[in-house]
Subunit: 321 residues, 2 copies
């Protein structure tokens, strides 16, 4: 099994290191955080200096996983370019276009496919992680026109070994989607929490399930929320504009007719769509690795809501909703 | 113990009937829904025609609890005025000013204080209810200048018997607060769900915790969501305007400087305020029922986040944050 070298041992990187180890892969990590390094070592994991970790990756032909915040990716890629320029490479950063651009600039021709596991908890750092964090979760693996099939398989295999289901998507498709279903929810949670708190102690005293649920992710580390939302600025602006349009329409309707029917119905339908997407028996489909344009085919399945649930030697199994 | 007559046996009314019975009170109900009536009878509860239920309330000097949607309140009050004009009266409708106005118009001089338990689940109807629904929840009981102390005590005692903690507030204060922490969250959930679904199957396939949490209440019955949001139109417009202002500011900041610091920090601080409100050891305070302006005093404690946790013969116990 391909060895794994994880750079960054916070919630996500730390969980990748645990899950890869649990899957039987040789695995080691590096982190700029001495707290995370100490905690990982105390849990029995190998933590090295970044340069040493990358040199070992080069020696063992390992898969390097960049698991730092977006703001540190460039610096890590420079070290990868220096110590392990030929290594298999993926990342678990929450935006994909900016990482793709950095890889193209610093490691042209890299054996790279980007990744993003859709899992998280409000807490952060090594101690918040777990080998089970990705179980059943979606894990995007990016497909661009020039993505190498072998590099893509390495990134996808890590996701599957971590218990996740792979969603093939281009970096741009991914960034546009997560702006709507991950970054906008963080902006909404922050705005909702602030408007609630503006109502004073009485409002917070009366707050129950709907407010707690709607503001939960406002409790996340502000630096991490900013790194992911600000890192996806263009796509997030589109999503915020759509939200402003819908919220403005609700306001107009409430002020003029007093009704919220179209807002409430659209939300109810959308939530029902979410619930039904993975309900019922999915259709299973085997795609051969040697098909022409297999990655493009997998990307099309991803765009239709398909998830890859198994990687065989000759085929890849997709579940379609 | 004061008998209880619940008109409306959906999620909230059905849970009140169960909880009041569990507390040892004689309790019966009525409902316009034959499905809820059948289900309640099958669970061993007494369900009568509305007129019969109210005549029995008059005969037994019971507390009548209006637990219908706001749109049905006027009709029920007409029947109360006809069959039990002297009965103790409260309600559990999610907006308070409109109910207060109807009571003043149809039952001037009623022995009434409004109520609103801050508990709920996405499901609705008798079968979704439980005697434990209100355990530890806030339950607003309204205080106006002319609220009778004896009527207020009856409404508050029901809340305490149901396991809730009482928050004293004027109807206007309540409506303004719940616009922010209950009705705006429903509007936000609907808008967020729709913007996410606009991203297509890929977006919904990648959706994880933040989107699930932020859209959960969009799964509630649209008719109930409309009844409560549209019924609180004026206060909700204020809250939506505040939200539009904050969301627009976030948009402007993201577009100009690329930063979301003030949005994210404000949300994080507000969420921390919510978490800290009921954390730690609360201060306990006994207020005597025979104090001058005792209801006004309790309302001031409610505005400061205080919750009433016990009602004695001579004192009322308030927990302050």
């Amino acid at each position: 099994m391909r060895a794994v070298c994880v750079i960054g041992l916070g919630l996500i990187g730390g969980s990748v290191l645990r899950a890869a180890s649990a899957a039987g892969r040789p695995a080691w990590g590096a982190t700029a955080s001495s707290a995370d390094a100490d905690a990982a070592r105390a849990d029995g994991f190998a933590v090295e200096a970044t340069a040493d970790a990358l040199r070992r990756a080069a020696a063992e032909d390992a898969l390097v996983v960049i698991a730092t915040p977006l703001t540190a990716v460039r610096e890590v890629l420079r070290e990868v370019a220096w110590h392990a320029p030929e290594a298999w490479l993926t990342d678990v950063v929450s935006v994909k276009d900016p990482v793709d651009a950095e890889v193209r600039s610093l490691l042209p021709g890299a054996r790279y496919a980007g990744g993003h596991p859709m899992a998280g908890v409000a807490a952060s750092g090594w101690s918040a992680g777990s080998a089970e964090l990705f179980r059943g979760a979606a894990w995007a693996v990016t497909v661009e026109e020039d993505t190498r099939l072998d590099a893509w398989r390495e990134a996808a295999a890590l996701a599957i070994d971590c218990g996740a289901q792979v969603v093939a998507a281009s970096a741009a498709e991914h960034d546009s989607a997560v702006a709507r279903i991950s970054h906008l929810p963080h902006v909404f949670a922050a705005v909702l929490a602030a408007v609630g708190a503006d109502g004073g102690a009485l409002a917070l005293s009366l707050a129950a399930g709907s407010f707690r649920d709607g503001t939960r992710v406002a409790g996340s580390e502000p630096e991490l929320v900013r790194a992911m939302t600000e890192g996806n600025r263009v796509a997030l602006l589109d999503a915020v504009d759509d939200a402003l349009g819908r919220l403005g329409a609700a306001r107009g309707s409430l002020a003029s007719t007093g009704g919220l029917k179209s807002t409430v119905d659209a939300g109810h339908d959308a939530r029902a769509e979410l619930e039904s997407l993975r309900a019922g028996d999915p259709e299973r489909l085997d795609v051969r690795w040697d098909e022409p344009e297999v990655l493009e085919r997998l990307r099309e399945h991803g765009a239709a809501g398909g998830r890859i649930v198994a990687l065989g030697a000759e085929t890849v199994t997709v579940e379609l909703p």
